[in-house]
Each structure stands twice: as C-alpha cells, then as structure tokens.
Point group: none
Chain length 244, copies 4
DNA sequence: GATGAATGAGGCTTCATTCAT
DNA sequence: AATGAATGAAGCCTCATTCAT
C-alpha cells in the first residue's frame, strides 16, 4: 500500500506552484522549501495533542517547526485552517491505510477484524496524531458542525459498506442497520483509542484489546452457549448450540 | 428518584465559606443562592453547548443567567471551574439516573439494555447538556488529563460492574474483560449520542437505535444462524454455527 | 449659542444607559465614569493630529486619555469607529457654531464673511481638531468613500444654501451655481486652514487672511476699476465706481 | 513640451549606484530599467488611488506592475519612498504642463483661466493620479510635514507669481496678497478636483465648472452691477446701489 | 451579596523588508 | 538584475477577572 507516499495535497497552498523540491538536494534531505508544510503539520500535531487546539499558540507551533511565525501563514490561512488541513491530510492517510488493510480480505468478519486491528495499530504508532484526530476534532462543534467533515464521513462509509456487503452476502446479521453498526463499532474503537491515548497505560496491550473487541462485536456479549440468552424469553430456550 | 436534591457540592466556593444556604431553608424552597448557582449552571450548559467552551464568553453566560458578570465569580472560581462544576453536577444526576434504571432489574442483559435505553433517553431529553458532557469535556485534554474525572470513572464503573456480575453469574460471556466491554459499550452509545446531538436528525428514532445497539452487543454481528435466536424467524436456523 | 453643551451623542455606547454621572461629584469634576468618552475623544484628536490616523496606536491614545487600552473598546467599536465618531462629534459642533454665526446676519455677503471668519477662528482655536477634520478625514478614501459623510454634506449644504438665498434675493451674482461656489469657497478656506495648521506660521494673522479671502470671493480678483473685465459684456461697463 | 524626458530622478537609488540607464540608450528608447521603474510607479498610482496608501500592499503593486515584490526595492528605498517618488515624478509633469499652459498667454486673467482649465483637464484625464496627489499626499501629515514638499511649493509658486505679476501690471486687484490668493485658488480648484474624483459624477462637466470658477474668482460673487459692494467701507459709502 | 466598568495581558495575523538563489 | 519565500516586529482587539461602589 503506497498511497500516501503521494504528495500531500495542500490546502494552504505553498504559494505558487512548486511541486518539485525547490532544489534537488545533492543527496541529503535538503532542508529547503518543500518539506516546510510537512514540518508545520507535524509540529501542529505535536502541539495540538499536548495543549489542545485552543491552548496552543501559533508561535509555539512555529518554534517547534523551526520556522518563523509568519511562515505558517504562507501555508495555512489561519489557525483554524491549520487544524482542518491537518485533519484532512492525516485522515486521508488513515482512510487509505484502513481501506488497504480491509481490501486484502474477502470476508466481512475478517475485514472488521482488520479494521479494528489496524485502527488500533495506527493509534499506537501515532499517539499524538490519534489524540488530535480523536479528541480535538470531535470536540469542537465548530469543526464538526460548520465544517461537515468529508474525511470522517468517508471513514464511516468504509465501515458501513463492509457491513452492508457482509449482510448482503449473509456473512453478517441483518438485525442492525449498517450505518448504525458502523457508528457503534467506530465509537467503541475510538473510545478504546481515546482511553489508551489519554490514560496511556503502556501495559495495556492494544493488540489483545482489539481481539477482544472483535469477539464481542461479532459474537456478542451474551454467553456463547446461548448466543442470545438475552432473547431467551423469546426462545424455546433449550438449544445449547454454541460450545466454546 | 431524588438525585440532585442533595446539596449541589460547589467547587467554586460561594465566597466567604458559606456552605449552608445563605438562607437556611428549614424545609422550604431555599430560594436564594442555590437558585442563582443553578441558573448560572443552566445558562452555562446552554451557552457551552452552542458555542463550545472556548468560544463561550462569561458575559454571555451571565446575560443568559440574568446576573452580572462578576456574580459568576461569587459562585465559581473561574471559567474552568464553571465547566468542571457543571460536569460534576450534571454527571452525578446522570449516574444516579442510570444506576436507578439498572437497579430495577436483576438480569445483566436487561441491565445493559436499560443502560443504553436510559442513556439515550437522557440525551434526547437534554440535548444541550448531552452535547457539553459528550463533546466539550471529552475534548479538552486539559480537563480529561489534568482533572482526572471521578464522575466519569464512576459512570464507567457502573457499567463494568454490571458486566462483571453478569459474567460471574454466567449471564454474560467471559470472553471480554469487563472494563473493556464497558468502555466499548460506552463508546458506542456515546457515539450514537454524539451523532444524534450534532447532526440532530430528529427523524432518527433513538429508541429504535437503542434496541438495535443492544441486539448487536448482546447477540453479536455474526449471523443469526449461530447467535441469534432472535432471528430464528429470519433463518433456517440450523447451519454454520461458528466454531472457534 | 449653547448647542453643543448638550450631551455628546455617543456612537460607541458607553455600555448600558447611564446618562447621569455615575456619582454626583461632591462638587468637583468627579473623575469617575461619565467623562471617559470625552477624554478618549480628546486624546484621539491629539494623537491623530500629531501622528496621523494610521500611525497612531490605540495604546497611545489610551495612555493619553489615562485609561487602559481595553477601555477604549467599551466606548468605540474599533479604531475606525473612533475616528468616525470623533468626526461626527466634532463636526456637529463646528456645524452648529457656523450655523449660529451665520444666523445672526441677514445679508448673504455678511453671512459668507462670518462663515469664513468663524471657520478660521475655530481652526485657530482648535488646531489639532482642525488637522484631524481637515487632513485625516479628507484623506482616507476609506472614510470619504465608504462612509458617505453626512456631517460634511451638511457643512457644505450650509454654505450652498446661503449662496442660493443670496442669489435669490439678488445679493449675489448668479453666474456660479451655488453648490460649486460653496465647494470652491470651502476649498479655499480649508486650504488656508490646512496651510496654517501644517506650516503653522503663528505670525500669520488668520483674521486678516479671512478678510482678504472674503474680499476676493465677493469682489473678485479682477481689478476693482473694472470689476470683472471678464464680465464686461454683462455690465453697462461704464460705471467707474470703485476708486482705488 | 518635454517634461519627463529628463531622466526620472530616482530617490530610491536603483541599487548599486547606477545612475546612468542600465543600458545607456544613445538615443534609442532605453527600454530597460526606466521601463520597470515606470511600470512600478504606474502600478503604485493605480493601487494607491484605489486603496489608499496605508491599505495598499507592496505585493499588490508588484503584482500589478508585473514584477516580484523584491524588485520594487531595487528601485525604491521603501514604501514611503515610493509614494514620495511618485509624487515628485508626477508633480513635476503637472507643473510643467501647467507652466506651459500659462506661458502661452500674456494676460494674467487668462493665465489663471488656463491654469484652472488645464488643472481640471489633467484631473479628468488622470483620475487615479489626481486622487493620489490630491488625497493621499495632502493627507498624511507625515509627508506634508516631515517632507517639506518642494514640488508642491513650486506648484503654488507658479500661481503666486502669475498673480503677483498681474498685480504689478495692474491686471489684477491688489487687495489680496498673491500667496494667499494663490493658495485660495488652488484650494478651490483642488476641492473641485477632489469632489469630482471621489464622487466621480461623470455627468459633471469639468470644463464648465472650470469656467464658472474663473468667473467667480475674477469677477467675484457680488452681483456684477456692484462688483465690490463688499468694499463699501472703502467707498464714499453712501450709495445703496445694491437693489434686490 | 451584586454589580458592571475597568483592566491589561496575550495572541493571531499582517506585511514591509531581506537575502539566498 | 530579478525573484519570492522567509522573516519577525508590531498592533488591534478580546475577554477573563477584579474591585470600588
């Protein structure tokens, strides 16, 4: 999966087209020009994650990115735009990664497992980013409301589609509407991510958590023996099918 | 259900150590003091919900509460304190309500159903409050981190305990650790709530959504064939019963 | 003429009606409240006059007015608003004064003389204010264009009306349209004012200049003997009245 | 009339003491250097006229001139210098044109008429330039004070000299000092120009206005019959000529 | 206890100017 | 000479908080 190696489409236009590095670095990484936008985004991820959007100061992001305050405004229209750009940029990578992870399986249940696993892996690998995406953006009515978030919608759509297809193929129960299931699954995973990110218990094994979560979502909380004990009343309630 | 009849513990000390109502109302209505504090909290819920914490101005809350700006500082130490107090105050009511709702059932699955139903009912009945509790507080690392939230912990504990007890009594599968399951369930419900609160689709039937969510959590997403007696009708219901 | 002793109608509302001095000063001038708007306007006149609008800093005006920076924003919406308010406020006084000066005469030529005299007296008595009204406001396209200035229009109207009436009564030549004549007269007087204000030759006798200006406007530059060779055609052109 | 064929004296030294055209055009068109400087000045006239000096951005002028931001600093020391250079440059042309227009007449009154006519023609033909010269420069104390304007002085001197000579030859009344008369006349014409420029009533016939203005200045506002009634005091002062 | 005018620290943003290429 | 990305000083304005009344 190579998608997001591609040039990160910029919102805050770097002023005038210049898509090849200003100068082909002799060999090294050419600290000159091209990577500035990226450095600013990285700094923003870090600062936003630690201070929160509202308490973060542009000057701090600038310092962390090693640029002047004003430079940020060459790449982003405003502090808001920086957050949104960050979201779009990173979210796209996440979506791409998740889509790719699920693509390599043809089984709905498996796809969901991969989704959860990959999501939590991403979180573990990019704590700061996860915190910003999870916490900062969700938060602000301002962004969620006034900026109807296409990337996030896409993210959910990904899940919903998998579920829908799974249902169509009979691989998943049709008792729950796909959108709702997707939303719930996302909420659960996201909550775990948030938990891990905020409390940051390093001992917690995200891998294992991901596994349990999948079990629960696929198999249900009801005891295996009577998957659906909850409906016991509705059932003849004898069949002890599911054996562990 | 009597929850907030208890004196609302104030964080922002009401100035001049006065912990008994300014006018100790033997039994009467104690209009005075508690009144104003409550009006401020209500106003804060409303304003925070609509503008978000950072964009809300103390003066606006004051106007909405019908008091002077300065008055707010007689009841709360700071804007931060106002948010935290609000959270403590409202969260306690929520916890009480949820606890009460679950108490009236002795069956784990049922308790969970009641939890989900009641939670979403509360959300539907108190949109603004739900938005603040769900969105604003979650958001701010500042609050979640620096202010290790006892009410929220209590909230989760409630769920986890039910699950734990259910597992102990064999009413729930033990494949998932209680805390994790609680967290996931909360995340899912919360996400639905957020969805409803933000997108605010009034056509969406929260009641129904709650039902589906429970199905999913208890019965699992795996096809009814193995899980779901509840779908017996939909299925030939014999085959393919998921063996681990 | 007592007009502008009246309360200066405020644009930047002093926040909440309070038209009586907050506190009836024992006897003195009660440095408390009421005069703050006025002090800010005075400071603004002074600073704008010396630095020009764009080079003036709010903080300097605040310092000069003896208030905090933020206080200015309790009385004026913005720096722009401060300038405009200043203009409205002071211009109204000027208009009132000029109208009053002209009112006490029933002869068009005399009215014009009084206009010129009074205008230049006002300038001499309020250099800073004159500079701001003359220079700063004229200047900024922003203000002259985007803010179609009613006070200034009124000012010119005053003059034009006098000329029109003078023409109607045969006291003034009808060779020039009133509006144009008014504009020209204003331009001339204003230029003199500007000259005096900027170069500030204190030796220059504004009184005398006013006299000469009137002579010129009423009698023309053409030599008295032929009061208007240019108008020879219009005249019996015999009368050699005026003897040098 | 050859005015600006003379090398445009640059204030902002064209970088690296190069005072001869980069490409010394023996006689040819000297395209190079002068070209760019001129384009920048033209752009500046346009932008200053539309936005005002303080609201104009160097980058906008650069864009309009088709050069890079930095290039402007090869020709002008600073933004201020650009305005002043512009003033010097354009004012010189204006002065030359006016001087030439007046030179072709030997009669003082005629010279004045030509002055007024030509001035207003120039205004009509170069609105933007007129706006900058009239509005922007007049305005800023900064420029009028700190930069005692030689071109403008020359401009007035031109007028004053004509009047003085007219008076000496008995062609003009001596009741008014030449400088004052010049100033007044300029003020009047300038005000008309400003009026036309800002309100920009295209229907207004500047030609006609010029005519009326001359009438007024030469013949006076007093009714033709008694051109000079205003000097009654200087007269035998009995005659009640003025009849309605 | 209430009030609300006053405070003033602080941050986002602009934009003239520089300088490496 | 020309470029234009980068700089960073500076200012308007906001708004939580205080305190005299």
């Amino acid at each position: 999966m190579n998608r997001h190696s591609a040039e990160p489409r910029r919102r805050g236009k770097p002023l005038k087209e210049r898509d090849q590095p200003a100068v082909a670095a002799e060999n090294g990484v050419s600290r000159r020009g091209g990577d500035k936008r990226e450095r600013i985004l990285d700094a923003a991820v870090h600062v936003f994650a630690h201070k929160g959007f509202w308490s973060s100061k542009i000057s701090e992001i600038a310092r962390e990115a090693g640029v002047a305050d004003g430079t940020i405004y060459l790449y982003f229209k405003s502090k808001d735009d920086l957050l949104i750009s960050l979201f779009e940029d990173r979210m796209e990578r996440v979506n791409d990664t998740l889509a790719a992870a699920m693509a390599s399986s043809d089984n709905a249940a498996d796809k969901l497992r991969r989704f959860v696993q990959t999501h939590l892996q991403l979180v573990a690998a990019n704590r700061d980013q996860a915190e910003v995406l999870t916490v900062e953006l969700r938060q602000s009515s301002k962004f969620i409301k006034e900026y109807a978030n296409p990337r996030f919608a896409q993210f959910l759509k990904l899940l919903a589609t998998v579920i829908e297809e799974g249902q169509a193929k009979g691989e998943l129960s049709t008792r729950v509407r796909p959108v709702l299931a997707a939303r719930a699954l996302f909420g659960a995973v996201d909550e775990l991510a948030l938990w891990w990110v905020l409390r940051g218990d390093p001992r917690e094994n995200l891998e294992r958590a991901a596994g349990e979560l999948c079990e629960m979502f696929l198999g249900g909380l009801a005891p295996a023996a009577s998957a659906g004990a909850s409906q016991a009343t509705e059932l003849p309630a004898n069949v002890k099918r599911r054996v562990p």
